[in-house]
Symmetry: C2
Subunit: 455 residues, 2 copies
């Protein structure tokens, strides 16, 4: 029986059988205690045995990390647990070599990254990856209960409208011996017959489905070639990209706010023990921060207003805020601290934003919105999309997009076009926010970063 | 308001506002009917207007495919619908060009593949992709409610233990001008500093997490380089790979059976209208087949027994069944028809199965299981995994696996190893089964097959 179900349904006096691993083992001359876990519950169960156990000597040799089966009865606990397990039988299922690196002591996260296949067994990573799991499901649950259709957009693409240098190339050709034709790579011999990339977004395909189902979302792995070794960059990560027909920028902000609150609430409710642990050992402002977010009224200001706010402060900015430029990390921090709440910043200068965003009537800004969250920075980025065929075509051309390769995308503006909006949320950024963990390498099971694709 | 919520909560006499598209438009001299849909409900809403509408002339010009907003009152329907919408106002949101290929008539699926960005607007593909969505959520829902942790295993790998010719290569190098060092590709200049592939399975990484959380599953895109243009092959598809610690082959079959029944039940309950439609227009045995599966007792036979069964029949097999060989499509069909139920075939000859499967005590077979389902063939494939370090190492070496690149995987057998099992289910195969659609190209939003990576 899973430990989590035992905690939910079993009481003192009940007989139970559990299978799992030894987290800690304290031995006395005539008895012993095993901290037992099976990974289904964040809580461990204390197993007690003594000389009445016929394999007492064997049990005492069981090391931390061993896999065991325990049969016994739940009895009143001497400690602060609800109960403990008095073992009738403890059977060794799998030994654990003495070199086992996960010992009951504090390991550095850097060290644990070097044993990425074993680190999920630590309390810290049990908490992190359980919360990752909870947040995944909370996202699906939110969108499903609001009539969205989950769409699996393709990763492979032969269109390089994102700029081929920002995408990974995929091929079945032998790189040691690339076939050439007239001095160029002969892609006719490649599996798809053309040069193929891994796309960095499902938005364009998502829009096609939003024009059929009204509300859709994607949730899948995403790739960036960025050669950047920072705490917040990984080359492989997961992303959520909802797209909603008949939705303007205001409607989009309503959705973003509702969705985020719903996910945070779900995690607080279902990951109570994990959050408590992280609050104690990683960031003691975590729980309060999350509880506050659920209650907060998100602020909505324009980029213009944000720049005015920044310029009205006494701070000597490293990057001087202005109406034509992006907002720097220092600015994000100031703004969220000023309002002490999540802040939507809308209506950004068009030259620093993507070609598919809808231009505002001022001719200078686009209907884009970034959500800045205290302690996390930019968590979501979205926009209303340009729905007019001619305007979108002109915008794409002016940005050097190969419009032939996206004729199908432009088609969406010919056949029943409508105002519509969408946003993207980097899933790892959300997990960093939900756990208080700072480094993206510690919220991805097996992270891929420049120079590092181990395991 | 979403159409699905109107159908759920609104009654005759209620005022409503809807936004969506025109599926069909029948005009009379003094009035007209619009088949209105927004994609949130499979049902359409009939909108009625007449000369009292001040833009009557304009409305009559609205073509199939136009995006509109309708304000009106729900009134009793003349037809067999619960109600229809008497329009006070119909506003054009987006025009639709006359060349719109999705007209209210029957289109061939081949033609619809050539407009993959528009085909989700047809009734057929609304049904298929809604069921794909429902099945996705049903899978998450099943595993979440049974204490599994959803794990995002990486797609990029530098280990070629699957055989590099079966994996796509990924690179940031310029293929036109590959840097070389001593005559070989200089992968030091590639982003990860080594040759990198896209893995075809998350199983190995999944096992590492099963040894921490007991029960895990993956659900993500998967890639195969197979140059095979058949109805059942795609180069990019989605796969589910659960992995369960302290679970033997029998336990695995219990889980597979329970999970499949749970998913089919969910789809039948929540995709009622879509299933009815597919049953009427695609495969009139569909509904009965699915309802039967939920009630069925899945049969469990060994490969040996299956071969005996095949040989005891009068059929002149194209492939003669024998104890050492795989089972052909004709055999699968016979077996599921013979039992008239899903059949688990267990204990396969070890030479035709993977190196990580647990060898049975007979020395000839492994603890593998394939699930054969009437009308779908093999739907899941799984096995108990070899949990002994030395045996696994020897098996890997004997199959030519580069064991250095999977030392971390072998480690799992050193530190608290336990009997454990897992299976893989191709998600598209499930959708083919759930919809009665035969071609994998018609159950993937934008399919990627050899020579074809459009959109």
């Amino acid at each position: 029986m899973d430990l989590i179900d035992i905690f939910k349904t079993k009481n003192i006096g009940d007989s139970v059988k559990v299978e799992g691993w030894i987290r800690n083992h304290r031995k006395q001359k005539d008895f012993g205690f095993i901290d037992f876990y099976d990974g289904t519950s964040f809580k461990t169960l204390q197993v007690v045995y003594d000389k009445d156990n016929k394999n007492f000597v064997e049990i005492q040799k069981m090391l931390v990390g061993c896999a065991i089966e325990v049969n016994g009865t739940l009895v009143e606990s001497q400690g602060n647990q609800e109960y403990e397990l008095k073992a009738d039988e403890i059977t060794l299922i799998g030994t654990c070599d003495e070199t086992y690196p996960i010992q009951p002591k504090r390991h550095t996260r850097e060290f644990l990254r070097s044993v990425a296949h074993l680190r999920p067994r630590t309390r810290l990573f049990q908490a992190v990856f359980k919360i990752r799991n909870l947040a995944s499901f909370a996202i699906h649950d939110y969108f499903q209960s609001h009539n969205y259709v989950y769409v699996h957009t393709p990763l492979f693409t032969t269109s390089d409208c994102e700029g081929e240098n920002q995408m990974f190339k995929v091929t079945t050709l032998d790189l040691e011996n690339i076939p050439k034709s007239e001095g160029k790579v002969d892609y006719k011999k490649d599996l798809f017959g053309r040069q193929t990339f891994i796309t960095g977004t499902g938005q364009l395909h998502g829009e096609a489905y939003a024009m059929a189902f009204k509300k859709i979302y994607t949730f899948g792995p995403t790739f960036r070639t960025e050669n950047s070794n920072t705490k917040t960059h990984a080359n492989e990560f997961w992303m959520i990209e909802p797209e909603i027909a008949f939705c303007d920028l205001k409607g989009l902000m309503d959705i973003e706010e509702e969705m985020l609150k719903s996910v945070v609430s779900y995690v607080l409710e279902n990951g109570h023990e994990e959050i408590e642990f992280l609050n104690s050992f990683v960031d003691n402002t975590l729980k309060e921060k999350l509880e506050k977010l659920v209650q907060a009224d998100f602020v909505r200001i324009t980029h213009h207003e944000a720049v005015d706010l920044l310029n009205s402060s006494d701070i000597n900015w490293e990057f001087t805020p202005d109406y034509e430029s992006d907002i720097a990390k220092e600015h994000e921090k100031y703004i969220t601290e000023y309002y002490n709440a999540p802040v939507f910043i809308t209506d950004w200068p068009k030259d620093i934003k993507a070609w598919y965003m809808k231009e505002n009537s001022d001719g200078k800004t686009v209907a884009a919105v970034d959500l800045e969250v205290p302690g996390a920075g930019e968590l979501m980025g979205g926009s209303q999309r340009e729905e007019d065929y001619e305007i979108l075509l002109a915008r794409a051309k002016s940005k050097g997009v190969d419009v032939d390769s996206i004729d199908w995308f432009l088609d969406l503006r010919k056949f029943g076009t409508c105002y519509h909006s969408g946003f993207g949320m980097g899933f790892e950024r959300l997990i960093i926010y939900l756990t208080g963990i700072e480094n993206i390498r510690d919220v991805i099971p097996f992270p891929r970063t420049p120079g590092s694709c181990e395991y």
